[in-house]
Amino acid sequence: MNNRRAILKAAAVMALAPGVTLIAARAAARAPGEPASAANRWGLLIDTTKCGADCTACVSACKTEMGLTSHGRPLSDPQYIRKVDVADPETGMRHSLPVMCQHCAKPACVDVCPTGASMKRADGIVLVDRHRCIGCRYCMMACPYKARSFTHQDETGQKPYLPRGKGTVEACTLCAHRIDAGRQPACVEACAAHGGGAMLFGDLNDPSSPIARRVATQATSRIRADLGLEPAVRYQGI
């Protein structure tokens, strides 16, 4: 089926007059009433060589977008992205990389959830259905990327598009609310505007998308690929 789509797409490109560039039909807003589709597989490509160790543009943009307020306890304050600094002790090579929910194709958090709250949407976005979350935090223990947080106390001033409250687990939604409206995740926008332009967002299932072309032609890696969870977030330069 993938092949057939590719052929159809290629045909469509060829039908364009020569010289007309096809602007990657990326992230068009989904029509109202239409469900997320397995034809898409949203992902991120992060070039760590462009990611500054001191830069936190993505982290602060995420906090603002999602309305994540601090309760003054950095160890338990919710975070959807964190910057992780790694060093190779032998060579001294250092990297700084943003780590968020990796939106795995085979998410461990979904496997362990006793209520079906941890879920993967058809387009590959891994979410917590907070309507079903009982706050047991099995998913937090199962996640090898430490991507999820727990809301420990009452919240106020939530964003209308991101309800969040006490007693439930939460994590990066890949900005599903923006993707559904045809926009880019907030971190990607902020990285391009105020950071090093290290993040690329797109549809890995669409062979003509910039992200799919790059992962097809350049060496990329996934964190802890050995676990076989098949994350949708890929890194370059580590």
Binding site: G33, E34, H131, P160
Partner: protein, 130 residues
């Protein structure tokens, strides 16, 4: 609680039979702040009876299937039904005497939706950010 609800619905039906939808607020039953815009997503009789069925259906549709733009959106209820205070700022829709709470208090219903969901409409700048 079931009895209270039945009583409401019966009283409601009587009110409607008399042809006065506005009778709701005039006989000791809760007064509801007026909506900011209209019309509602369904006639008032339907809304009173079935709003929570619609809401609970749509929350699964939106969150689990990713369907946007359905009419029974909690965001949209709040956008229309959160009244403005004297200072021009919106009053939380679940504050005492406000739209969702006045009625629920009367009918002894308690909902947890607003421990997560925003109780006032989006500020204009977030609504229109690119």
């Amino acid at each position: 609680m079931r009895a209270a609800v039945l009583a409401i619905l019966l009283a409601l039906a009587a009110g409607l039979a008399l042809g006065s939808g506005a009778a709701w607020a005039e006989d000791g039953r809760p007064a509801l702040p007026k909506a900011k815009a209209g019309p509602c997503i369904a006639p008032p009789q339907v809304m009173r009876r079935s709003h929570y069925v619609m809401l609970l259906h749509q929350r699964d549709q939106t969150l689990r299937l990713g369907i946007r733009g359905g009419k029974a959106s909690l965001k949209e209820c709040v956008a229309c039904h959160a009244a403005d205070g004297p200072d021009g700022k919106p009053i939380p829709v679940n504050a005492p005497g406000q739209f969702c709470s006045s009625c629920h208090e009367y009918a002894a219903v308690s909902i947890d939706c607003f421990s997560c969901h925003a109780t006032t409409p989006a500020a204009p700048q977030t609504a229109s950010s690119p």
